[in-house]
Symmetry: C2
Subunit: 208 residues, 2 copies
């Protein structure tokens, strides 16, 4: 298909598609003449993925580029694939002092100990978690951490279902894309469901 | 304290503090002379909250403004307070066709029926959830929805703990701020824990 049809199929305006191409988020089409290119179903699919990561995942253009690089990287074991997909994902960072970081790591290690989780200090995910704990303390809402074990148990249940489902996708490329999409859009899914649940619990507990 | 000390106490550069003031994210100090103002502990606290919402919550400047407006709004019942805090929060939106929306609402209503949840079609939270479902279908990763009930059960467990903890904060202002901070930073906490859990589950299932 030509560019105009790619735009219709994907619902993305032509100018936006060209912008994504300049940013390296979409591979070039197959040139059929010096200034005309042909696109396929893979381009439509990739465009929809870019839109979902930007609009639902809330990622920046640069972060989408990193995620797509993770998807396109060849890898070996399923564990490595999942790790690679995860390390390609942007993590929240927060400036913290040594004292704050030590306090956060203490809380994380205690929680991980109770759940039988391994903690790799320095890994982006652990640093990101430590940043969230420090932010909660900095804004004076440490009480949220009284729920840390409840949150971790919920995360564990969801992660078990995620990994099992992703591993069933089969082909390496599908597993990587599934891991990335499932992680980013899964966050959005969980956040929306949590807000919906807040309304239900609040109605039950406080409504007259 | 003067502006320089406010900057030291909060860890936010003076130029950034002035930018936040222009954007209405920080109330003015008490004028002690035509071009000098005095700031208090409430300013330090508010600055740390703005930083956390921007950096950990990943909100835009405009969205932080809406959240702060929700925090400063006077309200009545705890249920109303929580609703207000939630409606002040930005929700992901996704362009969907009528057919897609109907399909998503069908999935949401079936899930809600199984959990005994009320669904208010048109509420920002339900629309946001419908958007996530449509995005998953658009990118060809509908399989994530096979986990919808697992996600909803996890969200329910966390929401129950959230609402119970927030209600204990007592004063109206504290409950509103707690609800907002708990919702935004709670999303970040859950996302980080879910990624940490992914690594544990993957190691257990696939590592050699």
């Amino acid at each position: 298909m030509r560019m105009a049809e790619l735009s219709r199929e994907s619902g993305v305006p032509v100018a936006t598609i060209k912008y994504y191409q300049r940013e390296g988020l979409l591979p070039p089409g197959e040139l059929t003449s010096p200034n005309q290119a042909r696109y396929g179903a893979a381009h439509v699919r990739r465009l929809k993925l870019v839109r979902a990561l930007l609009e639902i995942g809330g990622l920046s253009i640069a972060a989408v580029g990193e995620v797509l690089a993770a998807i396109d990287e060849p890898a070996t074991s399923t564990h490595d694939i999942l790790g690679l997909a995860q390390h390609g994902l942007p993590a929240a960072t927060q400036e913290v002092t040594d004292e704050e970081r030590a306090w956060a790591m203490g809380r994380i290690e205690a929680m991980a100990g109770r759940r039988g989780w391994e903690v790799h200090a320095g890994s982006p995910v652990v640093e990101s978690l430590a940043g969230v704990l420090c932010a909660l303390r900095q804004v004076g809402h440490e009480w949220v951490l009284d729920e840390l074990d409840t949150y971790a148990a919920a995360a564990d249940t969801v992660a078990e279902a995620d990994v099992t489902a992703v591993a069933k996708l089969g082909a390496t490329e599908a597993v990587v894309e599934g891991a990335v999409v499932g992680t980013v859009l899964g966050d959005a899914l969980l956040a929306a469901l949590r807000r919906m649940a807040h309304a239900q619990v609040s109605r039950r507990q406080f409504s007259v």
